[in-house]
């Protein structure tokens, strides 16, 4: 009898000290907040230092693998080799074209297509959100082509529009267009019905409600869609520069890969990523300026 009691006490004791064990339990535990924070907000906290640590760690692992000679430089060149290649291409160009010209050509293709896609996709998306007629007409074609990889219809683009600039920009345009149009269409739903009803009750016309209530409410979704869209644009760049290109970052990566110039390939990839990331930072800055009210009402 006494034994049993003793036994159960010790179990309870254990449970009190360590109700759940393991790394996951430690990670998932509730922690009180510091003053100035709100308890339980998902993903709260500054990530700046962790991001720096993450990048430095990846660089270190990369450097360590190459420095120890675990992998041949043909497969994974060292970080120093990439940097040296970058300096080399910056000074001497690649295939008789200067580095900045490669950057300029690709940037012009991506942003030209991006701006075109926004100019067409945002109004069309808004119209689809506002009007069942527009939605009925345009939903099937957009949803039909959207999941097709650009590489699959690249040959068609070339057959129809030639090997010039048109087919390249059009290919990128198509990859940006769908997410931007669908984002704008979804954004139309952002306005609260109270905001819309209030505006009507102040004598606003349908057009005024669209211009002064629905459009501003849709801005956060539209800006997010633009960020997603330009990402798709960069993704499609290499495909667009696969055929009959003599300039551009995508061309640089592809032609370097044909000659097994791995450092140039990796350097090109990093440059594309850096430009895309810089633009995303710009978009976030614009978001903070244009829609400081996002998520606050």
């Amino acid at each position: 009898m006494i034994e049993t009691v003793k036994h159960s006490t010790s179990v309870a004791e254990k449970a009190r000290i360590n109700p759940r064990s393991g790394v996951f339990a430690w990670f998932a535990r509730g922690r009180p907040t510091k003053p100035g924070e709100t308890y339980g907000v998902p993903g709260q906290g500054d990530t700046m230092w962790l991001s720096v640590v993450s990048i430095l760690f990846l660089l270190f692992v990369w450097w360590a693998i190459t420095a120890l000679g675990l992998v041949k430089p043909l497969f994974v060149p060292s970080p120093q080799a990439i940097l040296a290649k970058f300096v080399d291409v910056w000074q001497n160009g690649f295939t008789n074209t200067s580095f900045l010209e490669h950057v300029a050509v690709s940037t012009a293709r991506v942003f030209g297509a991006f701006l075109l896609a926004c100019a067409v996709g945002i109004p069309l998306g808004l119209a689809m959100g506002m009007s069942p007629v527009m939605r009925g007409l345009f939903d099937p074609p957009i949803e039909f082509y959207r999941p097709i990889p650009p590489l699959a219809y690249l040959p068609l683009m070339i057959i129809w529009f030639g090997i010039g600039e048109t087919s390249k920009v059009l290919l990128i345009f198509l990859s940006v267009f769908a997410p931007v149009a669908l984002g704008a269409r979804a954004g139309v739903r952002s306005a609260a019905i109270e905001q819309i009803h209030a505006a009507y009750s102040f004598g606003a016309s349908r057009w005024q409600v669209m211009r002064h209530v629905i459009l501003p409410s849709a801005l956060p979704e539209i800006l997010t869609a633009m960020r997603v869209g330009v990402g798709f644009g960069w993704t499609t760049l290499v495909a667009a520069e696969m055929v009959a290109a003599t300039k551009g970052l995508g061309y640089m990566v592809l032609s370097a890969s044909q000659f097994l110039q791995t450092p140039t390939v990796i350097m090109g990839i990093i440059v594309i990523a850096a430009i895309a990331y810089a633009f995303d930072l710009l978009m976030r800055w614009i978001e903070a300026k244009v829609i400081p009210w996002k998520g606050k009402m």
Binding site: A192, H197, A198, A199, Y200, F202
Partner: protein, 262 residues
Amino acid sequence: MGLNIKSASVVFPAAEGRPPVEALRGIDLAIAEGDFVVALGASGCGKSTLLNLIAGFLAPSSGEILLDGRPVTGPGADRSVVFQKHALLPWLNVIENVAFGLKMQGVAEAKRLAIAEDFVKLLGLDGFQKSPVYRLSGGMQQRVGIARALTCDPKVLLMDEPLGALDALTREKAQELILRIWNDTGKSVFFITHSVEEALFMGTKLIVMSPRPGRISHRFDLPFSRRVLAGEPARQIKASPEFIRLREEVLGIIFADEEEAA
């Protein structure tokens, strides 16, 4: 003159296997100039449907709604609405929100800002003209919403539980503020609330609505708001025997409706 609702009914058609819902049956209601009509009732009694009908968001299945003798065919600035929440425009600051209705009516900027300025002051928001509305407290946001509806100079001000989201103290202050503004401007008000005390305190007329089908089951004339405006302290009125007796009577009606439903 004023607003006249004559045997209005609303039937929502059957959908997705549900039978048609009779949301309102045979509503007769007159809101004369300067009336403060409060609608009270259990959930689902059709208060908000009635407000939507007056606002012009919803057309009656039968019957008619007349404003100064002319039928209501849609929403308009002569019947501006104050909602419980979510109705302000966060990309505009306080004064721009207040001036928004006038902007929709094409009033020139200088003029509409001048008018808005008056209502900002009337609602005690002076000094906050340039503040973003999402930084304001709930009570101040609601005052912006009321100021915004008043700038439109409506014949009838429609208020859909305007104080429902406020804390008890702010709410009592806001009640008196609305009463004073109602008295100063001479507007007709149609006011929906869930609080019996608020209804008795504010209205000149009370309609108690009952569900299935939504209808007006009881009508009361109320003296209390006039007594507040004559200077009697609000707490004294709310604690007076006649106020408490009426409050219990109305509560009894609403609880009976709720029990019937359950």
